[in-house]
Symmetry: C2
Subunit: 269 residues, 2 copies
């Protein structure tokens, strides 16, 4: 029965685990089938064409394992590949960009929203388009922050160097008078403390991972796709490289602990 | 005639251009066929198995275009794939690790050498093995510097944040009393000023790109493979993604300017 199939989630690597985490917290009965493209990470500096090609390969792989819905947990892939995948696949597909944009539009009072993300996501202009389709008067200020991902992956989430880079990246946005800031890359919620400190109380931080889990829950409920049996959730993970490294990182993020057998390698030839 | 074929050079992305540059300066008549795997960059955090598989694909592609020798311009790929490719390919293959190690061994007086590189290269222990095969008494101190590549690619080569990271990465090596330091990643020569400032006069910096061009020149000469005709060098570049971005970066590094037609895309399916 379709309801009891897992939800497919994919990302360019480990960052999408912040989305998986929010889904696990909100829908604890649901099983996840996660794919992290760790061999080809990062997507943020790749072209639209390449990101679509990689996303299509992964989505087809997830569908071949039977999933009831697909969540694109990577902002860059959501920006570039959501429409293509939604048109091609036999299951509902949601990305992280739209839920993040919706929440930011609801939260801003001044109509001035900052978006921080990878260069790919910023270049795509997709957050801006979504935000302006909700309210054409909203002013959007985008800023690529290419050092945030390596800083997180180096474990420097609370480091003075990270704070300095956050100040450089965020000051131009703060000077524009934003009152909401979209954390438009899956790694960035792990920098919430530093980013919050630099932004101060006047700026609401929007975590698209949280908003996506909320939207997924509404979508499954509306389509009658929520899990109906009472078996416990079973999560499986596939990565294109470095299973052990992935498992260690996952254990620092997810609300559950992974066994060795939970993570397998899948390489696209 | 074999002598007049180009030299194949490959790297995980743009970093190998520092090696291409040294070859162009030392062997200005020789033509290069360069491959940068910009879609799958970086290699530094990928497994040995994956790096060998990617390197094999690229080397076979270069051979299919007829080259007289192959230079592995990526330290991680040299560390993991040199022996495999040298055994499999019909042309001579050299990597950047061995020439770098040889030069460092010649330059140290105290027998204490530092090696900075990606995590993959450090993990492989290859610099240490080479250095100790030259002189088993040499003490090698390795340090992975994962933020250096993104800092270079952000254009922050002379920035205070880069200096702070250099201090953190290098202080433990300096405390070990090294008097030579191998810049064991192709991007690092672009940080020579900052690294030199942190290390001071007591430490000789070794640039494997420079040493590799020297060794290549000797190898071609010994094998009678130096170019014999007087036509000007013709360089061609293939990348797996982002031709335009590659061309812009190349123009900041190479001693020649690239036309649009010089850079093509080659995607491995």
């Amino acid at each position: 029965m379709t309801n009891n199939l897992p939800i497919g989630v994919f990302d360019s690597g480990v960052g999408g685990l912040t989305v998986a985490k929010e889904i696990m917290l909100r829908l604890p009965k649901e099983s996840l089938l996660y794919f992290g493209d760790t061999a080809r990470v990062p997507y943020g500096n790749k072209s639209e064409e390449t990101v679509i090609a990689y996303s299509r390969q992964i989505a087809q792989f997830l569908c071949s394992h039977k999933v009831k819905a697909i969540v694109i947990a990577c902002n860059t892939a959501s920006a570039f590949a959501l429409d293509t995948l939604a048109a091609e696949l036999p299951v509902p597909v949601i990305g992280v960009v739209k839920p993040g944009a919706k929440a930011a539009a609801a939260k801003t009072e001044k109509g001035r929203i900052g978006v921080i993300a990878t260069s790919g996501t910023i270049r795509s202009g997709l957050y801006e388009r979504y935000l302006n389709s909700i309210n054409p008067d909203i002013k959007v200020f985008g800023k690529a922050c290419p050092l945030f991902v390596p800083l997180v992956e180096e474990g420097l989430t609370e480091d003075s160097v990270t704070k300095q880079m956050a100040e450089r990246y965020l000051t131009p946005l703060l000077e524009e008078g934003i009152d909401a800031l979209v954390l438009g890359c899956t790694h960035y919620p792990l920098l919430t403390d530093v980013i919050g400190e630099v932004c101060g109380n006047g700026v609401t931080l929007v975590n698209p991972a949280y908003e996506t889990a909320k939207e997924l829950s509404e979508l499954l409920s509306k389509k009658g796709l929520l899990k109906t049996d009472d078996t416990p959730a079973v999560h499986r993970f596939f990565v294109s490289d470095g299973e052990e490294q992935f498992r260690r990182f996952a254990d620092t993020i997810l609300p559950c602990e992974l066994e060795e057998a939970d993570v397998s390698r899948k390489v696209f030839s």
